[in-house]
Amino acid sequence: MNAIIISAVWGIIMMFSGIVTAKGSTIRNAAIIGLVLLLVCNYLDLIGYHLFPVDTHKMLFFDTFGLLANGIIFASTLIYVLLSGREIENIAQRMPVAECFALIFFVLCGVSLVTTFNTLLMLFLGIEIISIPLYILTGSDKRNLKSNEASLKYFLMGCFSTGVMLLGIAFLYGASPNGSFSIDDLGIGSQKLSALYMAGLLLLLVSMGFKVSAAPFHFWTPDVYDGAPTVFTSFMATIVKAGIFIGFIRLFDETFGDSQPRWQLFVAIITAVTLFIGNITAVFQQSVKRMLAYSSIAQAGFMLLALLSINGLAKEGIILYAAAYSLATIGIFAILIKMKDYTFEGFNGLARHQPLLAATCTIFLLSLAGIPLTAGFFAKYYMLASVIETGHFFWLVVFAVLCAAVSVYYYFRVIQAMYFKDGDAQVLELRPGFKGLLVVVAALIVLLGVFPQVLLDKLYTLVYTW
């Protein structure tokens, strides 16, 4: 509860801070304070200090899984703002910087609803609170035609998927035994599932698949990610996606967990298609930004494995995956923003001019590719292990692994450009603080890659010992 209220309130504060001051750095610092506050309050919630004792009438349910996910998402946002916050100011001639930050906080509010919802209405509300600010952020580069196009495209497709979602929720409401939106009442086992129920379930699957850009509902992703200002692409591709994924898992775990055998095959097919399309298409990209858009589809495919298996490993794994993926992608985007040329050639010879930038970028890419010693390895490990534990869908595991091998191709193209090709990579001006922070993020990734338990165990034990 703490997080939801504070993020909403702080969003409003941010909005009005534009009246008090027009100075970008002040506003950014206020946002950083807000994020730290969010992290602290979320932690307090986790250990049992509820600042706002509101009776939510079982509309929301605050369990460790959701709150832990919140913590990861807020921490990622903090790192994101620290790394790329200045870039938001650079769009400011066209867009008041205070409002951008306000929108980010509103998105976070939506995310914390999605991670802790207990009725489908709350899920719907959360998804909408996330989506609407994103439409604006996508189009925030007002004079850029591509940005406008992306925004409109996103808006139209988003509205459509929202409609599908509402339809699904309505079906489920009709099919539930005593007319309820609560996910506790909707889990009615795998027997006697009416056609209405299955239809509602599949519609929800489709609309959620749309939101996390799972194939074949991914067509908006490359255009929107490419057209949006890079700094917001980074936000959308990581924090928002991870948040919605947590909600996705929560929905299917709590509500449809019992009827798993009935929908598992659908998820398996969606996963396979997502992995295939994401990875194969990424191979052919010429721009790193677009490649990252497709890579985010491919990574979503890997996260879908957790949805497929839904067990203890999957839930632990998705938290680790969210952290590993967000950290690495935020880092790469932060570096990408500083490049003058977004094509692969633009990275040529970066190692010669900016060895530190190249080294950290390499760690991020290795993590995305899932090489041991980086967080990405254990993230992928958990996903694979969770499916293997179910004892079914072995073909999908092998397929996922082959796709991971394909992903090495496009991630390593960046490494090859940076290290082995001669060129004159142009970089914008870098502050020492930025480099320092990149090193910290890279160190975090390596730390998670050697001791993933640091995140999983320590957080859990902290929660339970208090």
Partner: protein, 489 residues
Amino acid sequence: MIPVLLIAIPLIGGLAGFFIKDEKSARGWSLLVSLAALIVSLWGLSLPAKSPMLNADAEWLPALGSRFTVGLDGMGQILCLLTAIAFPVIFIATWRDEYRKAWNFYALMLLSQAGLMGVFLAMDALLFYFFWELALIPVYFLCSQWGGEKRIQATFKFFIYTFVGSLLMLIGIIWLYSHTADHSFSMKSFYDLRNRVGGQEQLWLFWLFFIAFAIKMPIWPLHTWQPDTYEQSPTATTMVLSGVMVKMGVFGVIRWLAPVLPVGTWAWGDTVSALCIIGMIYASLVAIRQDDLKRLVAYSSIAHIGLMCLAIFATTTSGMQGVMIQMFNHGINIIGLWIVIDLIERQLGTRKISELGGLAQKAPALAILLVIVALANVALPLTNAFIGEFLLFSGVYASKATQYNVVFTVVAGLSIILSAIYTLNMIQRVFFGNTNTLTEKAKDIRLNEKIVLAAIVVLIVVIGVYPKPILNLTKETVDLIITKMNYKS
């Protein structure tokens, strides 16, 4: 204690190496670090087999059931010794090679040593997988950064090949792990799986592991990355790849495949043996036609490794003994060959056999040393490889695991003849005959090169005459593996 040191010394030395921004000091530093590792390795050899110093165990990922368990058994001793000898030899032999940003080169070399040591020492499947991949990353950078003209594509092919193999192995490891009695990655739990994993499952599980190992060795038809990579890599890295790294594949089969999945190993034994034999003959025939010295040695290596793999699947004590000793010998011999090639290339700027000739007149010392190494490559008596290959062949011949043992022995024996053809042919065309305008200018080798080559020759002869210490060292491992490979019990 000792295993930890063996990993930590090159690891820390390598990491520190990145910060020595001076070519000469970096070179000296790396030699120092590798010598330290060699001393530790010798120290480990001097200890009795049951010494607690040879094992280390620490908590790593309790929730996953994986521990940081490292230990030195006979096979580990031999391979760690090989790794520990190889690196100082390589550093001294390539002392005069010039690299751009040499400190990075040497640091990465040391990191790859740490990874290799880890592979040979790990007694925990997940840890093994970790090191297996880690050994690859520095080598990838080494080859892509400092190699020949087509280095980027060649290395990338190599990387993708091995990465696919490793990922398949990861699936296998996770699958086996989920079937262990105590949800543990420890070697003991994996060895106990034989009773819990049915024969049908072993049949497909076998390939998940074997593909990874076969790519690394490499076994025909998964060998295609190898000649390109060997040719394009800087010679020092080629030495690591062919001298030590291919042993990872052989080692993997012996430690993590054959004893864990005995039924699968037995059932596919004939298939794999056939692949090995095809590969041996094929590689030998291709080697005869090669004009590039590096490619010639690369193909010859495929043939030799094929024989080792064949002997593993023969499941006999003498064959397994042969594999142990031959892993060491092959590493020493092939590094010796690479050193000679590197010397020739550095002096004359070419590796083409057709452009060379009459070097013996100009460089007599080099010629003598090379001839000994080359004879070892052909496995002539009195050289180390004779002992190894004799054991390998007698093992294959005596095999009870297959009914085709005679056929295998005879056809594999052909490859020895073929290897004599291409090796002697190479010596003749490069070292004897008349000098040409290019080789006129050749000079004999310098002191440091004489020392390393002489050391290699000494090793070749000593092991060739008195192999008993190595055989004793590995006896216990061999017995254990052979017992575990008995699928009937």
